[in-house]
């Protein structure tokens, strides 16, 4: 029989920060404990096997009140790619006006995930 192992994670699904225990038997997850909601259980499984994050950053915008517009990945991306994605987004430049949800970069680094604006900016 293979050895059971318990890993500890802190759920980032919401500010409650549930302390999770993920027990595996060497290959598969046996149980996720310590969650308050289903989101926590899902997070525990995902963090154990394929940790992912939503990345929020900014891009340059011309012709707006501010020099930057906030953006995010339209879905979660592998945690190991976060820095690379932030770096790739740094070179993007857009022109005001921009609408919330508009893609400023599509399929970033082949992840299938877009970089989308998280607010409207008007032309000033």
């Amino acid at each position: 029989m293979s050895e059971h192992h318990v890993s500890h994670y802190l759920c980032i699904g919401c500010p409650l920060g549930c302390r999770l225990e993920v027990e595996d038997d060497g290959t598969d997850i046996v149980e996720v404990r310590g969650w308050d909601c289903k989101r926590g259980e899902r997070y525990g499984r995902e963090e154990h096997t394929d940790p992912r994050r939503v990345v929020a950053t900014t891009v340059k915008v011309r012709g707006a009140l501010w020099a930057r517009i906030p953006v995010k990945t339209s879905g979660s991306v592998p945690k190991a790619m976060v820095r690379e994605i932030a770096k790739a987004v740094r070179n993007v430049e857009v022109e005001a006006p921009v609408r919330l949800g508009a893609a400023v970069l599509t399929d970033v680094l082949g992840t299938g995930v877009d970089i989308v604006a998280t607010r409207d900016v008007e032309r000033v």
Binding site: Y9, I12, C14
Partner: protein
């Protein structure tokens, strides 16, 4: 910027709200829902929305909208609702004074000095950051020492980096968020230093902002010296003992060009002081009753100006209530007077609101002084609520239903958070 500037400023309003951040926007919508017709929302910035515009990270709105939004998305949703409700939004404007008859003196970029009458007022000015002077860090006075929230505005809105090698003092949420943000912009974050033995920010931010990027968090450690003639060149940090006294024999130096301070927020109550509102020395915000009314008739307050919240969702919740009550006030519908005072007891720094009515349901917000696991919140003998843990960094909120209060006949109820 969402087009929101009013062309005509009326002479009188039902409800005037000072501050167009999350608290003010929610209060405006709350006032509308109770029948207030002419509502004016005033903000000193060029657009309403407040600090949310610069909080580009996600994690907002889970309680309020049931989904996870970024700060700007949360702000835009609220602002759209404000505009759909025909609320007048006046930006680039300061509220300078409020008379006892609720006449407001304004200073506006577009309208100059103006006076408006209000049947009810809501104070929603938010908070500002504590600075170096607040904790008296010894050392030289070079450039490169700034608050984390200012750095956040530089990076996320203005497109400036505050430096290349950064030390963060204080483990407040804004500092943790900025540790990650600056790392993603290619800045080297040398570490986060916290004088207390526990972190000040939310646990989730320790995980996703520090652990994810291998940024060290040094607890019970503080900055004892800042060096540099023109620009910060290095800082000296040292561990502290149980009385928070630094042990200089174990101090070490860190090369850096920037020090970010994330050492807490102070409710912005210059206006409240000017009009002589009664303030709570612990929160440094106005004392409020269960309708969020201050010590001045018809003047309500909500959000960070009353007490510092860690989640915007709770700001919205509290502020909708304040706005509703302001709306009800102008129609002459006054709820029964509060008859119970809350007294913060063991491990309770403060409670908001400060008083309750035994005839209505309330949400009581409180902050503890020290972390405890497996504990109970006790309202005298009438209500006990078990909690898995409490942390100073996480506000505790407890729903108090009237059935718990109906058999209570005293006028003061002590609130304790104790080990089970």
């Amino acid at each position: 910027m969402i087009t929101d500037e009013i062309r005509h400023l009326a002479r009188a309003y039902d409800v005037v709200i000072s501050g167009g951040g999350p608290a003010g926007m929610a209060a405006a919508i709350g006032a509308r829902s109770q029948g207030a017709e002419k509502i004016l929302l005033i903000d000193r910035e060029r657009e309403a929305g407040g600090i949310l515009w610069q909080c580009i990270h996600h994690g907002f709105g889970l309680h309020h909208f049931g989904e996870e939004l970024t700060g700007p998305e949360y702000a835009q949703r609220y602002l759209e609702e404000v505009l759909e409700n025909d609320i007048d939004v006046l930006t680039d404007t300061y509220v300078c004074d409020i008379s006892p008859e609720r006449q407001l003196k304004l200073m506006s970029g577009r309208h100059g000095i103006a006076v408006v009458d209000a049947k009810a007022v809501v104070l929603a000015m938010g908070a500002r950051e504590r600075t170096r002077g607040a904790i008296r860090i010894p050392g030289e006075r070079p450039s490169g020492v700034l608050t984390a929230g200012l750095a956040q505005k530089f990076v996320n809105m203005m497109g400036y980096l505050p430096g290349r090698r950064v030390v963060i003092l204080g483990s407040g949420d804004i500092g943790l968020i900025m540790a990650r943000r600056l790392t993603l912009e290619g800045v080297e974050v040398k570490g986060v230093f916290e004088i207390m033995p526990h972190a000040n920010g939310l646990n989730r931010n320790i995980v996703q902002c520090l652990h994810d990027y291998d940024i060290p968090l040094h607890l019970s450690t503080t900055v004892v010296d800042i060096h540099g003639r023109q620009r910060v060149e290095k800082v000296t940090v040292a561990p502290v003992d149980g009385a928070l006294k630094p042990d200089l024999s174990r101090a070490w130096d860190i090369d850096c060009d920037t020090v970010l301070l994330s050492i807490g927020l102070i409710p912005e109550n210059e206006l409240s002081r000017k009009i002589d509102l009664r303030l709570d020395p612990v929160t440094s915000g106005p004392v409020v009753n269960s309708t969020m009314e201050t010590s001045m008739n018809g003047v309500f307050a909500c959000g960070n100006v009353v007490h510092i919240h860690d989640l915007v969702d709770f700001v919205s919740e509290e502020s909708v209530l304040a706005g509703r009550n302001a709306g009800a006030y102008i129609t002459g519908r006054r709820p029964p007077k509060d008859n119970i005072r809350l007294l913060p007891g063991d491990n309770v720094a403060y409670c908001v609101p400060h008083t309750l009515s035994s005839e209505r349901e309330h949400i009581v917000y409180m902050r503890v002084r020290k972390p405890i696991e497996k504990c109970s919140v006790r309202f005298g003998e009438v209500l006990e609520k078990k909690l898995r843990y409490v942390f100073p960094a996480e506000m505790v909120n407890i729903k108090v239903k009237p059935q718990f209060l109906e058999n209570f006949h005293g006028d003061a109820l002590r609130v304790d958070v104790v080990q089970r």
